[in-house]
Symmetry: C2
Subunit: 322 residues, 2 copies
């Protein structure tokens, strides 16, 4: 068992977090994470309405009596999202930990604080971490260049970003992006984090609500099998390097407008293809950790193995001290 400021202040058994994943953060994955003592987040916007989210919270509670959280990713959208109502739904459903991502959680902090909800804000730079600390969040999930989805535009990997943030941030920090095994957890602790957040690694678990083709592909892929798209629109995403992602990258290199590639990158199409196990049918996100994924364990096996391996590595390396 690893005890850190995160496990102590947030009351979870393991210094392991399953971060919000659109379409994937549903009861089937979140409940076993909670059972295993990790902090896992249902994704609010995977449910079409705040009422749907409340039902998903209840459905998850039907599968575990351990605590879990909800992710609320705040992004500019074409069709307005009722973020206030989602925030109220989270508080109303008795959830006590929220992961915010995207824009600053400032507009919702009062609601969350009034409801006794702890907030972990996920961000990709030291300046955003300091801003979040200032508006009162309880922890930072600091997300490096290696991550799936949105790494920001600074391209700073965890090896630099974690200690740089640790130099400045006073609240606990969880390291995110590029984590998936005990070596990474031990390294994150050395760099100044109090635990790790994982996304892609949880996609390759027995319980993840994903087609087997996707899981198998994560196992067979190397660290070279992700790519960045939407960089030219300053909305960079790390995605699996399939033929569509390569088409998008090529169009971007030619100076295409966003409208020209919109159909290719559309999330719904990618998720639809994913649900059918069609690996080339759309864009789907994956982090560089795919290069270090070699099996599809159960969530409980994965979490136990990562923390046990981290402890074993930390102990073994102590023998280097002469």
């Amino acid at each position: 068992m690893l005890k850190t400021r995160f496990t102590e202040e947030f009351g979870f058994k393991q210094p392991v977090v399953c971060g919000g994943m659109m379409g994937i953060g549903i009861a089937e994955l979140i409940a076993p994470c909670a059972e295993a003592g990790a902090l896992a987040f249902l994704t609010a916007l995977t449910q079409n309405t705040p009422e749907g989210l409340v039902k998903e919270v209840e459905r998850t509670r039907g599968m575990t009596d351990q605590p879990f959280g909800v992710n609320l990713t705040i992004l500019p959208t074409i069709n307005p999202v009722p973020y206030d109502e989602y925030a109220e739904a989270i508080v109303g459903s008795g959830i006590k930990v929220v992961e915010t991502a995207g824009r600053s959680p400032e507009p919702y902090m009062e609601t969350f604080k009034a409801g006794g909800v702890k907030v972990i804000h996920k961000c990709t730079s030291v300046r955003h971490a300091l801003k979040a600390e200032k508006v009162g969040v309880d922890a930072i999930s600091i997300d490096g260049f290696e991550c799936a989805g949105h790494p920001g535009e600074d391209d700073i990997p965890g090896l630099i970003l974690i200690p740089a943030a640790a130099n400045m941030v006073k609240i606990p920090m969880i390291a995110s992006g590029g984590f998936g095994d005990g070596r990474g957890l031990a390294a994150a602790l050395m760099l100044g984090a109090e635990g790790i957040n994982m996304g892609t690694r949880f996609m390759a678990t027995k319980e993840a609500p994903l087609h087997q083709n996707i899981k198998d592909k994560l196992v067979s892929s190397s660290e070279l099998d992700t790519t960045l798209i939407n960089r030219t629109f300053r909305n960079t995403s790390r995605v699996f390097k399939n033929s569509i992602a390569e088409q998008v990258a090529a169009k971007e290199a030619e100076g295409a407008e966003f409208a020209d590639i919109q159909e290719l990158v559309a999330g719904v199409r990618g998720r639809d293809a994913m649900s059918k196990g069609d690996l080339e049918g759309g864009i789907w996100t994956a982090g560089m950790i795919t290069g270090l994924i070699n099996d599809i364990p159960s969530v409980a096996e994965l979490i136990t193995r990562i923390t046990a391996d981290a402890e074993e590595i930390m102990r073994a390396k102590m023998e280097m001290i002469a």
Copy 2:
């Protein structure tokens, strides 16, 4: 004191390496590194001739009786470089460790092996590490996306690259790119490396043969102050983000040919400007670790601090194991 496979097999006191730095790896920096128990490399090509290198080896020996090595960076050049003669000069001068970088060291392995010289090959990908292991090098210096100079074209940071290489490579590995403090050393050990290689961090030491303006700039800069150039020519370099580097990046984005930017990137101009402390006078390399450099210690202070801090961090984190 940290004992690792690297310190044991190579016979150095500290698991710290000062990698080859063109124009900087001369006696004034290499001798104090050797005195402090680190493995440091004179750069062969900083001397205009193999005879000049032999003299620099002798000059260094006049300043320390501790062992040191020579870096031989093998690159395609417009004017042919007599690599064979440099390799012979290295062996002839009694040097026992060589750092190779750039192309495969295969053509020179026979010379080195016959001379009882151990070879550490620096490379930026798992496939190149395996190739080097196959041709008989004694260790790998695995160099991540964070590094100064040439990170390759794969953009894999140390957090992923080190364990990915450690999964495959059997000979000892030194982690390079993004290292400069005890946190980094401890993390590198957790990830499967047997020590760290540093370049930029050694630039900000009292003994580094660099203008004070450069050292001060490394202290005042953040992790956001480097940029990549020459990507469009598949010869990517991480350099300090000054006005010239930004001009080059802008020209590259417009699709400029290499000839169009050749004058801007010319190494001699950059080194000339560096020697005058003219930070905007040319391109000069710096790694992301510049964001974690906060002082200009002596080489001995730096090496002692890094290893002592790593030990202290490793001990302190053991208290997390409940």
